[in-house]
C-alpha cells in the first residue's frame, strides 16, 4: 500500500488547531517521542518541533503585560534537545480537548451518513448516538450538510474481505464496448466517487493494474487463492484513472460550466482556452466507445472538434440512438 506524505497543517487555522490539540495530548503523555506525536497527529516531526517551540514561549501577558516565565508554558528542554522527546512541565489557561466547530462536526456526520450502509454501521442506535455526540461536541450545533447513504451492494463486502485476506476474485466484466470477459483480479482497493464505486486491482488477463466499475461486475466469486506476486509489489497511483500510451486525445469545446464535471478526462498538460462561454481543450479517452458515451451525456455542452473520425463516431452514436425512436414509431404506426 502506498504511503502518502502527511498532509500537515496548511494554514494558520490548521496550525492553531494543532497547538490547541497538542496541549491536552502532552498533558496526558508525560514524556513522549517527537516521532510518536507526529504519527499520532499525521504531521511531520519538524512540524511537531516547531509547534512545541512555539508553545514553550507562549502564554499570558500577566499583570505587567511582560509575559513573565510563570505565565508561560514550559517544557523540559533537555528532553527535547537531547532525546527528541516532549515533556510539558507547565501549562496555562487551557488543558482540555477543544470543541469541534460546526463544520468539523458536519464533515464527520456527513461522512458517517454516506457510509451508513456498511455492515459495521448496521447498528442504527449506535450510529445515532455517535452522531449525537459529535453534535454535542460543538458549541453551536453541526452545520446543515448531509449526504444520502451510498447504495452499497453485497459485492462490496465480498471484495473488502478478499482485500483483507489477500485473495483473488473472479468476475464477469462488461467493458464500455459492451463485451463481457471473465476476469481474474487481485483486489487492492475499493474506491468511490460520490455514487460511483470502483475496484482497483491487478488484472491477470491484462497483466496490469486496472480500475473496474462495481456496477459493471457480474457473477463475482471469491476463490480463496492467494493474490499474485505482481499485486504485492504494486503501488497504486492516487489518480483513479491512469493514462496509457494507447490513449486517444481529442479536441473538444466545453461549456465553461461543464468543465469541472469532465475534469477527470482532461489531461494535466492540456491547454484550456476560454472563448466566451466555451473552453477549447482536450480530453483523453481509452477508446472511442468511451468518448461517444461521454459526449452524448453532455449534449450541447461538450462537442468534439477534431479529429474528424471522432466526430463521426459521436454523430453515428447519436443517430443510432434517435433511430430507435423513429423505428418504434414506425412499428407502432404499422400496427395501427
Amino acid at each position: 500500500m502506498p504511503v502518502t506524505e502527511p498532509a500537515g497543517p496548511r494554514d494558520a487555522r490548521d496550525k492553531l488547531a494543532l497547538l490547541l490539540s497538542l496541549i491536552p495530548y502532552l498533558l496526558d503523555n508525560a514524556s513522549v517521542p517527537v516521532t510518536e506525536v507526529a504519527a499520532a497527529f499525521d504531521v511531520t516531526p519538524k512540524q511537531v518541533r516547531d509547534a512545541v517551540h512555539l508553545i514553550a514561549v507562549s502564554g499570558l501577558p500577566g499583570e505587567s503585560h511582560a509575559y513573565l516565565p510563570g505565565d508561560l508554558f514550559d517544557i523540559d528542554w533537555d528532553e527535547l534537545e537531547e532525546h527528541d522527546r516532549i515533556a510539558l512541565t507547565h501549562t496555562v489557561a487551557i488543558d482540555d480537548t477543544p470543541r469541534l466547530s460546526s463544520r468539523e462536526a458536519a464533515a464527520l456526520i456527513a461522512g458517517l451518513q454516506y457510509l451508513s450502509s456498511l455492515p459495521e454501521h448496521a447498528d442504527r442506535d449506535a450510529m445515532a448516538s455517535l452522531m449525537a455526540k459529535l453534535e454535542r461536541g460543538t458549541a453551536s450545533g453541526a452545520a446543515q450538510v448531509a449526504v444520502a447513504p451510498a447504495a452499497l451492494r453485497d459485492t462490496v463486502a465480498t471484495i473488502r474481505s478478499a482485500i483483507e485476506q489477500r485473495t483473488q476474485l473472479v468476475f464477469d466484466y462488461v467493458s464500455a464496448r459492451g463485451d463481457s470477459e471473465r476476469r481474474t483480479v487481485d483486489p487492492l482497493r475499493i474506491e468511490s466517487v460520490n455514487d460511483d464505486w470502483y475496484l482497483r486491482g491487478w488484472c491477470h488477463l491484462r497483466e496490469a493494474v486496472r480500475t473496474f466499475r462495481l456496477d459493471r461486475i457480474d457473477h463475482l466469486v471469491s476463490t480463496g487463492q492467494p493474490i499474485s506476486e505482481h499485486a504485492a509489489r504494486v503501488v497504486l497511483p492516487e489518480r483513479l484513472f491512469q493514462g496509457s500510451a494507447e490513449d486517444l486525445t481529442v479536441s473538444v469545446d466545453v461549456a465553461a460550466a461543464a468543465l469541472p464535471l469532465i475534469a477527470d478526462y482532461i489531461p494535466d498538460d492540456a491547454t484550456k482556452v476560454q472563448d466566451g462561454d466555451v473552453v477549447h481543450t482536450k480530453v483523453r479517452v481509452a477508446h472511442y466507445h468511451g468518448l461517444k458515451r461521454l459526449v452524448a451525456r453532455f449534449a450541447g455542452q461538450v462537442t468534439v472538434t477534431a479529429p474528424q473520425d471522432a466526430r463521426d463516431v459521436v454523430a453515428e452514436w447519436a443517430r443510432a440512438g434517435s433511430a430507435r425512436y423513429d423505428d418504434a414509431e414506425a412499428a407502432a404506426a404499422a400496427d395501427a
Binding site: 494558520a12 499525521d42 512555539l54 458536519a106 455517535l130 466517487v193 466526430r311 443510432a320
Partner: protein, 339 residues
Amino acid sequence: MSPQKVSVEERLFSLVLTLVATESGLTKSEILSSVQGYNSRYREGGDNSALERQFERDKDDIRELGIPLETVEDPGDRGNNQSLRYRIPKTAYDLPSDITFSPQEMALLRLAATVWREGSLSADSRRAIMKLRTLGVEADDPLVGFAPRVRTREAAFEPFEVALERSAVVNFDYLKPGETEPTKRVVEPLALVQFHGRWLLHGHDRGADAPRTFLLSRVIGRPRVTQLGFTRRGTDYASHAIDELQKIWDRNLAELDVLPGTDAWVRLSKREDTRRTESGHLLVHYSDTALLADELAGYGPEVRVVSPPRLVDAVRQRLRVTFDAHASAVHGGEVDARD
C-alpha cells in the same frame, strides 16, 4: 522596541489563551495593548484601526475553529463598541467531559473523515480528527484497502457553504433545464445535501417566497455571499431535504427498453431500486428528468425510453443536439457548442 515578527498562529494562540484566562472579559484596547502579536504595534491614544481590523479577522478565524469567542456588553454602557468585552468561557471551550469514543467508534470516525479528500471539508475533517485524537483512543482495525470519497467539485459549493455557516443571503444565476437564459435567485441557504451523487442547495427563495432546492451543477458563475443575514426558523433542514428528494425519487418511474448484455443493461439493472417488467423492460426510479435524460442519452442506441413522454422528449432532444453538433465537417472552427 523593534516589533518582533510574530506568526499568525502565534498571535491567534496567544489571543485564545488570554481570552480563556479572563473571566470578566477584556476590552478591545486591553487586548490589543497586551496580547503578543498586537502589543508591539499598539499605539496608546493613537490610530489603531489597522490593528482593529486584524483583530476582527482573527475573531472570525478563531470562531471558525469552533471556539466560542463571546462578546459581553457593559450593562452600564450599552451600544458602545469600545466598552464591549471579549472572552472564551472555559466550559464552552472544553469538549464536554462525558463525550468519549470507543476504539470502534474512533475507527468509524477516521473512515468518515477520509471521505473528504478534497475541498474545504477535507480541512475541517482533518482538524476534527486532530482534536479527537487528544482523547487518547486508538482506532481499532485500520481499514485497509477502502477509500470512499465524496467530491465537492462544483464551483458553487464553497460560497454556499460559507453562506450557510454565516446564515447570509446568497445571490446566484440559475439555469433551469429547458430554459435558455439563467434567472437571478436570492436565497436564504438552509442546507447543502448530496443525493445520488449530486449536490443540492436547499433554501428559502426570496423571489418566490417559498422553499426551493437547487442543483449546484446548474448554478452559472460564482454565487455572491451577501452581508444580509437572516434567521433560521427550524432545524434539521438537511435531513428533511433528503427525505423530500427520496419521495420524489420513489414517485418518479421510467420504463426503458434496454438492449440486453450492453453496458447500459448492466449498469441500469444494477441501479438502486431497478425492477424488470414481464416484457423485459427496466423500471428505474429517478429524481430529476433532465439528469436522467443526460445519463440515458449517453447510452445512445442501447436504451429507448418508453415512458414517461417528458423523458422520451428530453432524451430525443439531446440525441438530436449531439448529432447536429457532430454531423458535419468542421469549417474554420465555427462550432457552437450550445447550438
